[in-house]
Symmetry: C2
Subunit: 414 residues, 2 copies
């Protein structure tokens, strides 16, 4: 079961004016299962995306990047689950383009105004005989009030759907932000995760939206790790339909920028953390804060070293306050960040929740195993590392490694 | 059970003239258990070592480096298991020095001629009341013919002891090489592993021994990974007693250099691979060969990305020929090696054993799931990646991730 992830059944997911969603069941991998989602965006909308940096990136990622460059107006997104269309060579590219062509024809829009996304098993060709006939039913269901089924329709190994909504006020104009995400395994995004979609009706210029999409990805989806494996299909998309009526925000100095930026960031961080809470086999949600670092990069390197360590993750699963494994991970983070080569471990303070557990290169005098045990029993564990050598910081969200992680990934294709 | 690791009971481990070994049971963590080893080396011996680059490196590692610098003649090594003396601050340094002082007194040698090693749980102080009284019984047992109990005495979570012996001929002089190692978890060495000791009676100059110790570590212990976690205590030591009677080898051009180098390398690679075969929970021994790379670093980055991927490792455990996870790992290795940012995945060939499984960015036409399944049933799996863009290569040895990996590491301290 996901760790402290509220059911979306109890979440109100208000429409974003200018965005319509429609799903269908195309039997791509499983029968009686929502596996196609079409998201139509109204004219005048801005769309920005960031994508995986995996060199084996999937065919739809290539096509998305190309269409975002070529097309002045994106008209629709199409997402299929059950098949990632990754590692599929030239045929994969043709299949992604054929998907766009079929949807473009149904919607009567240019082919390069469509962005395709796929998620699921790698190295299998898309079953086009099932996928293409699934597009018309999805188009026929297009509706502004369909974020709930949309969240269900993009799941793969996810146990629970993930969605978030918030609103803010830009002067007299009410602005809605609603988003969905999916992902549970192969999660260590490197630009964005597989998959996140956030829409708002605020008016934001294309160049500013491009800029903050990258920044928000870096502060949300790029701060999580389930298993250290970067997916071939990670994509994070932000849509701004501009229908709220506010004067277009074109720079960070504009009135209202901070308000909408914080709403978008809050949504992205919720959706990113939701992926970790639903991490494969997860029983704990772990927040790693690294503070007073020389650089953001070194804070992040230490955060990821702890978050990715199988030894730390299995100790967390066992509710074992194994300080030594955390210190060892801090110590080898210099493998990934040259500036850490002169890290003085005697200056480091390590906290589990609010309890100082290690300092001066060893266990804190005041620390007791009982205090550590008490924290480990909780479902949410905060680890804070103070390097005491600078002003930079980073936060990484992760989960533990359980028997179920092995079971889920040993059985995935069987 | 370790993967294809022969029992040392059937191995002949000949003495190395000039090296005596003695063990004792000091009850450091468990009763009735060999947990102290003293290795005495004769005057005239050369000793070289390489050590972990973990910034939280253990107190004995600091003392070893200091004594190797200060002392012209190392006289003895002392190893305790059950406690790593890592993350123990100033007290840890004092305990390591006190251990050296006690042994120096017993052997009537200078304190800085002793090299201390510790392995076991991190963050606990050494139980000096047990350790110190254990030294005299170990000294009283010193004998040249004690490599078997020595291999047993340095084990921690190891299921099986690890030892290797080989011999070679330098002109008319017979040369013996015998070594032992330990390690099963927290294995991703960064300079050397925890712990490896190889001794020979060949005469090799100090500067050449220093040079080849580093080189051999890079070609053996630095090519393995069990869980991606670099230990705080990794140490690899080579001893050359010089009692074989050969003219001292002082350079790579000297007669006999290649002969003794290959014998030492063969021993180090056997002992390094033995650690992987006994990797925590391992059921498969995986060899990852990366060929025709632009640089050695990029070959190694790809090898480690595959070897460390939890998704690849769980698939191997499940005997699942999951090509997609291997390709995804190749694709994200650019995270760790900048030169891979322009890797053209369409040129890559991927082999499982001798079977071509992927090429041109996707599954090979000739590949069948049956062929992949057949290879996966074996206990030893070779994965070969041909990048087809250069002449460099690297080999990484690794193992799978099983339920037992989680069990062993969830239960370690309980």
């Amino acid at each position: 079961m996901p760790v402290n992830l509220p059911s979306i059944e109890n979440q109100i997911l208000p429409p974003v004016p200018g965005v319509r969603l429609g799903w269908s069941e195309a039997n791509i991998k499983k029968a009686n299962h929502k596996d196609i989602l079409v998201i139509e965006v109204a004219d005048g909308s801005r769309v920005s995306g960031v994508f995986t940096q995996n060199r084996f990136c999937a065919a739809p990622v290539h096509i998305c990047k190309q269409h975002l460059t070529e097309s002045a107006q994106i008209k629709a997104l199409v997402i299929n689950t059950g098949n990632a269309n990754a590692g599929t060579g030239e045929q994969g590219m043709q299949d992604a383009i054929a998907t766009c062509e079929h949807l473009a024809n149904l919607l009567q829009v240019p082919v390069n105004s469509i962005l395709p996304f796929s998620t699921g098993v790698i190295l299998e060709h898309l079953p086009m005989d099932k996928l293409l006939p699934g597009l018309a039913p999805a188009v026929s269901r297009l509706s502004e009030d369909a974020w709930h089924p949309a969240a269900w329709s993009i799941m793969t190994t996810d146990v629970a759907p993930k969605a978030y909504a918030t609103s803010c006020q830009l002067g007299e104009h009410s602005v809605q932000v609603t988003g969905i995400s999916k992902g549970a395994g192969m999660i260590h995004p490197n630009m964005a995760t597989m998959l996140g979609f956030i829409a708002t009706n605020a008016a934001i210029s294309q160049s500013l939206l491009d800029e903050i999409t990258k920044q928000i990805a870096d502060l949300s989806f790029n701060c999580i790790s389930v298993d250290g494996d970067t997916s071939t299909n990670d994509s994070f998309i932000m849509i701004a339909t501009g229908q709220a009526g506010n004067t277009e925000i074109t720079s960070r100095e504009d009135e209202g920028f901070e308000v909408i930026f914080q709403s978008l960031l809050e949504s992205a961080q919720y959706l990113a953390k939701a992926i970790v809470r639903d991490g494969e086999g997860a029983t704990k949600f772990i927040t790693v804060n690294v503070e007073s670092a020389l650089t953001h990069d070194e804070a992040k390197a230490i955060g990821y070293a702890i978050a990715k360590s199988p030894l730390v993750k299995t100790a967390m699963f066992a509710c074992d306050p194994n300080l030594g494994r955390v210190l060892a991970a801090i110590g080898y983070a210099s493998r990934d960040c040259a500036s850490l080569a002169d890290l003085d471990v005697d200056n480091i303070e390590l906290y589990f929740a609010e309890v100082l557990v290690a300092e001066k290169g060893g266990r804190a005098q005041s620390y007791t195993e009982e205090a550590g045990q008490k924290i480990m029993q909780k479902a949410e564990i905060d680890i804070t590392v103070k390097l005491n050598r600078g002003t930079q910081k980073a936060t990484i969200w992760s989960c533990d490694f359980s028997y179920d992680y092995v079971r889920i990934n040993a059985e995935y294709r069987t």
